[in-house]
Amino acid sequence: MTVYLPIAELSVNIFIILGMGAAVGFLSGMFGVGGGFLITPLLIFYNIPPVVAVATGANQVVASSISGAITHFRRGTLDMKLGSVLLVGGLAGATAGVWVFSWLRRIGQLDLFISLLYVVLLSSIGALMLQESVRAMRRAKNNNPLPIKRPGQHNWVHRLPLKMRFKKSKIYLSAIPIVGLGFGIGVLTSIMGVGGGFIMVPAMIYLLRIPTNVVVGTSLFQIIFVTAYTTMVQAATNYSVDIVLATILMVAGVIGAQYGVRVGQKLRGEQLRALLALLVLAVGIRLAVGLIVTPNDVYSVAVGGMSY
């Protein structure tokens, strides 16, 4: 059964899109990730224009993050004040990102830039995750206990001015690195269509030394608002959010995620993380190959505007 995507302007097989959404939803439920960094490249592989894939990916992340955020809010593991400071940076970053996005589109380098960013991001994150999970597997085999990290130690981040007190997180931290982190994630949201949790969570834990229990909930809080904002801005400036595509992906995604969560609770962590790492690496390599192989036609036509 085919369905016509009005914004992407092509007909697709609805079952492939449903399968894609369910599979990514399953993985995101299993690993507790938003899934934007998998859905956007998959859509690009399926010939959805990158412009549409990115904007629609951001929309999909809103749905996949919301139930997690509600759960964390109920449990009280969400620092609203910290989240709001992150959000200030995030909204500014998303605005800047959409501006860069439109500019790249105008000069005809958007597709390349999106692919390059994904290749760099997916291969580095995939490699890091693989390394970490292999190390953990080896440790489990040798029965060595986990080396305990001391989060109390201060680094350069804690010497910055403009300090604020975050009661829920029980930290006293400068607003500059928080806004800066939010800004960077916001840029990634609008250019790559990701929530950015897979960067934000480690950065909050290792760089800002924020207690682990509030990190996930707070990052989800920021992600929801930044991705929702990005969806609106992309819709208003690039007209590139495909509501039909997004709805199919979201419905399949949230259902897939529920099963992913259940399976994830039963399975061993290290092997799962190694599998995810391999998957992330494979997607990154596939994108890199697309940049290197000779295209069928070196020419392309774009209609409209003065120079786009």
């Binding site: 016509y4 009005p6 914004i7 302007e9 929309n59 999909q60 809103v62 749905a63 996949s64 993050s65 919301i66 139930s67 509600i70 759960t71 005809g108 380098q109 390349l112 390059l116 929702a228 969806t231 609106m232 801005v233 992309q234 819709a235 208003a236 400036t237 007209y239 959010v241 509501i243 039909v244 997004a246 709805t247 979201m250 419905v251 949230v254 259902i255 995620a257 529920q258 940049l291 290197i292 192989v293 000779t294 295209p295 036609d297 070196v298 020419y299 392309s300 036509v301 774009a302 209609v303 409209g304 505007g305 003065m306 120079s307 786009y308």
Partner: protein
Amino acid sequence: MRRFLRTALLLPFLALAFPVEAQVPFGQASGVKEGLEIGTSTSEIAIASDFRGADLTIFGALTNADELFLAIGQYDVVVTLEGPKDYATVRKKERVFGIWMNTEGLTFEQVPESYSLASTRMIDSIDEAPSLNNIGVGIDHLALNPVGYIPDSGMIGEFRDAYRRLKLSNGLYQRDTSGVRFVSSSLFRASLKLPANIPDGMHMVRAYLFKSGQLINQREMPLRVVKTGIEQAITDAAHDRPLAYGFLCVLIAIITGWGASIVFRKD
């Protein structure tokens, strides 16, 4: 050469016809110019989103046609359907540090997004290239003027060829060199191919009448292409009310996410 022969062949007839203008029952010499009329059953085409392409038939008639010229096939008709005009940018990829990226681009001003042509025969055998270029009839003769100053003029030809090739390959530009047929001595029928991805908006049907390779008359008629259906309503909403559309997208996401957390809640 062929044109010369044709003219040579006609000369005796013309020579005969000329001095006795009034008595000649047929011929150009009667002094009345040939007329051209075209018509379609509709001035608006509604296209649903499952449109897979179709033929548009246009009827036309020649008036005051010279019987003799008709008999020896000296009249040629070209009918075109030109889509709405817009700027079009052609980009060329080159390998830079092993990666294929767009390095050069050229924007053409106001070219039709779609172009479908039907003619009685190959249009390059109807008239010569310079005069076709002049009137802009035929895919190879459409005016493709680059925006701005292009220092390397050799590049323009290359980009023009690429533009035509890409447009032909995605079906937006089409030609049927036997698409116009005379159903009687003065009545013709033109079948224009409408591609599946035809843009909506104001199109223009143009008919050109050639006599012995000279354009002698032309007619034009607007034709509105309107896309219908839910998909088009969505596209319109996305462009006309982008903020409300974006808000709706976010709202659907919130409902879906929230709904799932309620439905699947383990209590």
